[in-house]
């Protein structure tokens, strides 16, 4: 086995050993148990770095690793498992390993006094294992396998504090919503398999390139959309986005790792991998879903008060961006944004965790168990008390808003250029996509700065709480610092330092995308290039507007937000946003309730009606027939017919008895008469 395969195996299975260790032996080291996990994650990180540095090697083979082995075979049907590592994989591995490591480090302080400390690290290990599995997979079936395992890890981690009903509900909701997407993915996979004969992604790409779907492109479109449904579920796209806000019930480091940076990015990653064979029709569908999600989630985020809810909807919106990017063909931009988003979103979540942690401690001090530590209306003016957190958060907010010199600007810019170019190519209704893109960008800037201003600026809303706030320990602030540094634009443009051009090591590594199902990538990339400056200008304008309006509302407090909200509500806009477009309510009324009612009905039909009445009816009929036949048998057959013979014989006997007079002479007379009669009769013959 060569080194690459060995390293890949280690990257995959070392976190799994952490999972096992913490699960079975986690109590051995007590509160020091995190060193085991940290150590393992550090090794994994080092191995990922090992792959990463190969990117800068000019003698790099492409792909870096492509091995597969038979899992099992029935003869004509074989399933294989294997690793496929190319440059995109390497970058993704880096993202996962780094953020996982940082979250592990952060959790040592955040989860410090939790009663199930070792179990937490165990589940984190299970998650890292599953996520790496998705990243390293070379086939759709293997990806599906780890896809579900990631779902399991998410279930366990969201429901970590399962004594709370809300957490228990949330983890179930997440798993089931994901399953809906998984069904689509499975069907799509089967459709492709039975045309192409393999689940391997490269195999499928090659087959499509050599015309396996010749004349049947519609089937490929449908299959592509169905496989994409898996991403819709996993990456919380409309209409399966409902689980992500609820997933905030989990500990904040979990939200950072899973629901910001990596697991939800798995959907985008998968779309990146299947991008080569998504037909233009399928890609259009992808783009529209992405656009709707990006815009809708941004609208909702404007009115949320819970700090994590804002970030959750922001994540959904940003994921929409990535999906939209891939849909319009901006392959490079989509993946670029995945990486930058992972960094600054993780940073944002960890910062919010830092704030929540501090709020918790303060409330604990005051013995207040009712105030919500996550509600921004209890915050305000934290800047002076938590400078590191503030700085990190500010940097990440600038990144997410798309301000120049920060990473988000570069990636978002590229995406927006893509949407513009798509509109230029297709015209008509596709104007929705750039509108969604720029609109969401403006709103993103708005609500993110709203978050900053409400949390860190101004006067504290609750002075009492504010007094006991203090900065978080090093284990928590160190990841914040690292991640905020990674949110700077220059990190991604190396070795160049043009802050307005995203070209650098990452875009060089990712390349411009391969497509074999009808899209001419050169054409697409040219279009993006042309639209670049327009996009950049418009995006700068919308960002400035967004930040300006946000400052007016929340920093300078020049405009009364309540009044404005009241005005907006005359046409129902505010409530619509605050109540998340009532989507959860709609699903509840139109889907969950009718379905549970139907299920109850089915049970009544099956048991009370079908079994008790119809199946048991056979028994009832049999018994009735049996009773009737018993009656007939006794009363008629036995009593009347069989006994009838007896009665008949009895009657004749009685009558004949009269001949037995006991007088001999009568007998003699009878004999003589009989004799005479016989003689007379025989005379005749």
């Amino acid at each position: 086995m060569d080194n690459s395969t060995l390293f890949a195996l280690l990257i995959l299975f070392l976190p799994f050993t952490a999972f096992l260790y913490q699960l079975f032996f986690g109590n051995k080291l007590g509160p020091q148990t995190h060193f085991v996990s940290l150590g393992i994650m550090a090794v994994v990180l080092a191995l990922s770095l090992g792959f990463f540095f190969q990117l800068f090697d000019y003698h790099l083979t492409d792909p870096i690793l492509d091995v597969s082995g038979e899992w099992f075979s029935t003869g004509a049907f074989t399933l294989e498992l294997g690793f496929y590592i190319d440059k995109v994989t390497v970058i993704m591995l880096m993202v996962v390993s780094l953020i996982s490591f940082l979250v592990h480090l952060y959790s040592t302080a955040y989860m410090k006094d939790d009663s199930r400390y070792s179990r937490y690290f165990s589940f984190l290990g299970l998650f890292t294992f599953s996520m790496n599995g998705i990243v390293l997979s070379n086939s759709l079936i293997m990806m599906y396998l780890f896809w579900e395992l990631v779902g399991l890890s998410s279930y366990l981690l969201i429901g970590f504090w399962f004594e709370k009903n809300s957490a228990a509900n949330a983890c179930k909701k997440a798993f089931l919503t994901n399953r809906v997407g998984d069904i689509g993915m499975f069907i799509g996979m089967l459709l492709i398999f039975f045309t192409v004969g393999t689940f391997s992604i490269n195999g499928i790409t090659d087959a499509v390139a050599s015309g396996a779907f010749e004349g049947n492109m519609q089937l490929l479109s449908i299959a592509g959309i169905l496989v994409f449904m898996g991403a819709v579920g996993k990456s919380a796209q409309f209409p399966l986005h409902i689980w992500l806000p609820d997933a905030m019930e989990g500990p904040t480091p979990v939200s950072a790792l899973i629901h910001a940076a990596t697991m939800v990015a798995a959907g985008v990653y998968m779309t990146v991998r299947i991008f080569p064979f998504l037909t233009p029709d399928a890609l259009q569908f992808v783009a529209v879903i992405g656009g709707i999600t990006a815009l809708g989630a941004a609208i909702i985020a404007i009115t949320q008060m819970d700090i994590k809810a804002v970030l959750a909807y922001s994540t959904i919106s940003q994921l929409g961006y990535m999906i939209m990017a891939l849909g319009v063909g901006a392959y490079q931009a989509g993946f670029f944004h995945l990486v930058t988003h992972a960094m600054f979103k993780a940073c944002l979540f960890l910062c919010s965790g830092s704030v929540i942690h501090a709020m918790h401690h303060s409330l604990h001090h005051l013995d207040d168990h009712h105030t919500d530590p996550q509600d921004m209306s209890n915050m305000g003016g934290l800047r002076s008390k938590m400078p590191i957190t503030y700085t990190a958060m500010l940097i990440s907010t600038l990144a997410i808003s798309g301000v120049p010199f920060f990473s988000g600007f570069l990636s978002k810019d590229a995406i927006l250029a893509g949407t513009l170019s798509y509109y230029h190519a297709h015209h008509g209704w596709t104007i929705f996509l750039p509108i969604a893109g720029f609109g969401a960008a403006m709103m993103t800037a708005f609500y993110m700065f709203r978050l900053i201003f409400k949390t860190f600026h101004g006067d504290p809303n609750k002075k009492v709480i504010h007094e006991h706030i203090h900065e978080s320990p090093l284990a928590m602030t160190a990841p914040l610092i690292i991640l905020s540094v990674l949110s700077l634009a220059v990190v991604f443009t190396l070795p160049y330092i043009n802050p307005l051009d995203g070209y650098g090591w990452l875009t060089h590594a990712v390349g411009t995308g391969v497509h074999v199902a009808g899209l001419d990538m050169n054409h697409v990339n040219e279009g993006i290039h042309h639209a670049h400056y327009d996009a950049m200008n418009i995006s700068l304008i919308v960002v400035i507007i967004g930040i300006l309006v946000s400052s007016l509302f929340y920093f300078f407090k020049k405009i009364n937000v309540e009044k404005l909200a009241g005005v907006m509500n005359l046409i129902g806009l505010y409530s619509l946003s605050k109540n998340k477009f009532y989507i959860d309510t709609i699903y509840n009324t139109l889907l969950y309730k009718p379905f549970m009612w139907f299920s109850k009905l089915a049970s009544i039909i099956d048991w009370d009606i079908y079994d008790q009445k119809i199946v048991d009816a056979w028994g009832w009929i049999t018994i009735k027939i049996s009773v009737k036949s018993g009656e007939a048998d006794y009363n008629w057959l036995d009593q009347k017919i069989v006994d009838g013979f007896g009665k008949f014989a009895n009657y004749f006997g009685n009558e004949l008895r009269a001949t037995q007079s006991g007088v001999v002479q009568n007998y003699l007379m009878g004999g003589i008469v009989g004799l005479v009669a016989i003689i007379l009769i025989f005379q005749q013959f």
């Binding site: 029935t74 228990a168 798993f175 089915a602 099956d606």
Partner: protein, 523 residues
């Protein structure tokens, strides 16, 4: 050894049951535990023998060529033979039966009511099950099939729950009805085949040339139909499934394990062993209906399970749903895509084995909580006798009080809903893959089962194990060492086969491939 191992497997439990009588006479009164010790030793021996058999088993050999086959004349005049053999189809069933019987004795360890009767009947049931899976002569098969019924009747009817009498008699009569039809089919096969025989191997050649009509219908079709109904009741296929929830709920835990783990598989085993090879033409005609029924099973079973408030009934309906996958995979045998046909049929047999282990684990775990709490309600029914509790949750937050138990339940539930890396996923996926290669639309409808199966398991898990701890249960102790010792082998197998299914696949693939060839040659 080779030639007697199969006979030993079948008759060792009979010997054990018989040995209990002198044991009862001699030491029964002072030491009522002697019966369970005899039972566990016998089933343990049986398990060892099964493993020895597995070690020496060569999956590529057909029954005729296998060294384990025993073929002796029994009732010569009617051409009935004592013909036992093992091939790729029966091997996993034999292992499953031996394992579950052994574990079930462990589960029944605390039976105090009339242990002699219980364990003796259990061993007879064990012998019957083994006999069914090993018989290669139809008459012998039928005998063992019937031998299973009577012990089940008593086991449910005497040691079961509150409605046990009703459940036992319903189960018995319903299944007997099917058996009678099977008898008709069997006799028809005997009389219309040339030469008259019950030998299943010979009938493979001769049965397809049966050329008679009865009441205007083709005899082969009538035989197929009679056999199908007989087996369908056992599977159980909708609409013959209603005995299952009742029997499962009322039976004692160990019997539920055996019922769901082994007895249900006999229906599909019968179809694969008898109906499929003997009447391949009929299989081809019937395949769509089989797939259709399979999808109905999947969906109807799952939808019903969602509405249940008794955990055992929920798991019973989940068994109905899981057997639907088996049917879908079995129907795929007519696929023109060779890989699809293989995937489907292999998936079906794998699902038979995997579902046996998974559902055994599920019932066993429910039994643990039932022992402690004496109820299995997720929610009390609305018409519960204690009106203060009606409609309220039965448990809540058990996860905090009994972490080990919760971990095992989570494992079992996720195995049941087909999580990858656990065996259920592979067999379900293969059944879908197989089904998809032939009946695209039906299979797509059936994939809804992936979601539905998750719904009821997670719902039950949430209401029982998550959330705040229900005060009533705050003093409960976790699983005992014995309970853990019983569940761990099952969990290990489920995990092992989920990660590395090759041993199971290699065991069954050659025989199933031969079966596919037989059927496809009738096109």
């Amino acid at each position: 050894m080779d030639s007697i191992i199969l006979t030993l497997l079948i008759f060792l439990p009979v010997f054990g049951a018989v040995a209990m009588l002198p044991a009862a006479k001699m030491v029964g009164k002072e030491n009522p535990n002697i019966f369970k010790w005899i039972a566990i030793v016998i089933t343990g021996l049986q398990l060892v023998l099964a493993i020895v058999l597995y070690m020496g088993f060569d999956p590529t050999l057909s029954v005729s060529a296998s060294p384990y086959t025993v073929q002796l004349d029994w009732i010569k005049h009617f051409n009935i033979q004592y013909f036992v053999g093992v091939d790729g189809l029966s091997m996993p069933m034999v292992l499953l039966t031996a394992l579950l019987s052994f574990l079930s004795i462990g589960i029944s360890w605390n039976i105090t009511k009339q242990p002699l009767g219980y364990f003796a009947l259990f061993l007879l049931l064990d012998a019957g099950m083994m006999g069914v899976f090993l018989s290669m002569d139809f008459f012998l098969f039928y005998i063992f099939w019937e031998v299973m019924l009577l012990p089940m009747y008593f086991l449910i009817g005497m040691w079961g729950g509150p409605q046990r009498h009703y459940a036992a008699i319903k189960f018995f009569l319903f299944t007997l009805f099917g058996s009678v039809l099977m008898l008709l089919g069997m006799l028809a096969l005997y009389f219309y085949s040339d030469p008259h025989t019950f030998n299943l191997i010979t009938l493979i050649q001769t049965a397809s040339s049966i050329d008679a009509t009865l009441w205007g219908m083709d005899m082969r079709y009538l035989i197929w139909f009679a056999l199908f109904i007989g087996f369908a009741i056992k599977v159980p296929i909708f609409p013959f499934h209603t005995w299952l929830p009742l029997a499962h709920v009322e039976a004692p835990t160990a019997i539920s394990v055996i019922l769901a783990g082994v007895l249900l598989k006999m229906g599909t085993y019968g179809l694969l062993r008898i109906s499929y090879p003997l009447l391949p033409g009929e299989v081809i005609n019937f395949a769509y209906i089989l797939a259709f029924l399979g999808v109905i099973n999947i969906l109807w079973g799952a939808v019903n399970a969602i509405a249940q408030i008794d955990m055992k009934k929920m798991i019973a309906y989940s068994s109905v749903s899981h057997m639907g996958y088996v049917l879908l995979g079995m129907a795929a045998v007519v696929s023109t895509n060779e890989g699809g046909a293989q995937a489907g049929l292999n998936g079906a047999v794998m699902q038979m084995f995997n579902h046996g282990t998974i559902t055994a684990m599920l019932f066993m775990l429910v039994g643990v909580i039932y022992e402690k709490a004496h109820h299995r309600w997720i929610f009390y029914p609305d018409d519960y006798k204690d009106s203060a509790l009606a409609g309220k949750p039965g448990f809540g937050g058990i996860g905090a009080q009994m972490p080990v138990f919760t971990a095992f339940v989570a494992f079992a539930f996720f195995a049941g809903l087909g999580l990858p890396a656990l065996s259920g996923f592979i067999s379900e996926a293969l059944c879908f893959i197989g089904g998809f290669s032939v009946f695209r639309t039906l299979t797509i409808i059936g994939t809804l089962g992936i979601l539905l199966n998750a719904i009821y398991f997670l719902r039950a898990y949430q209401h029982v194990f998550l959330g705040p701890l229900n005060e009533k249960y705050k003093d409960y102790t976790d699983m005992s060492a014995m309970d853990i010792a019983i569940v761990v082998p099952l969990a290990a197998i489920i995990l092992f086969l989920g990660v590395y299914p090759a041993p199971l696949v290699d065991m069954i693939a050659p025989s199933l491939d031969a079966l596919i060839q037989t059927i496809q040659s009738a096109f």
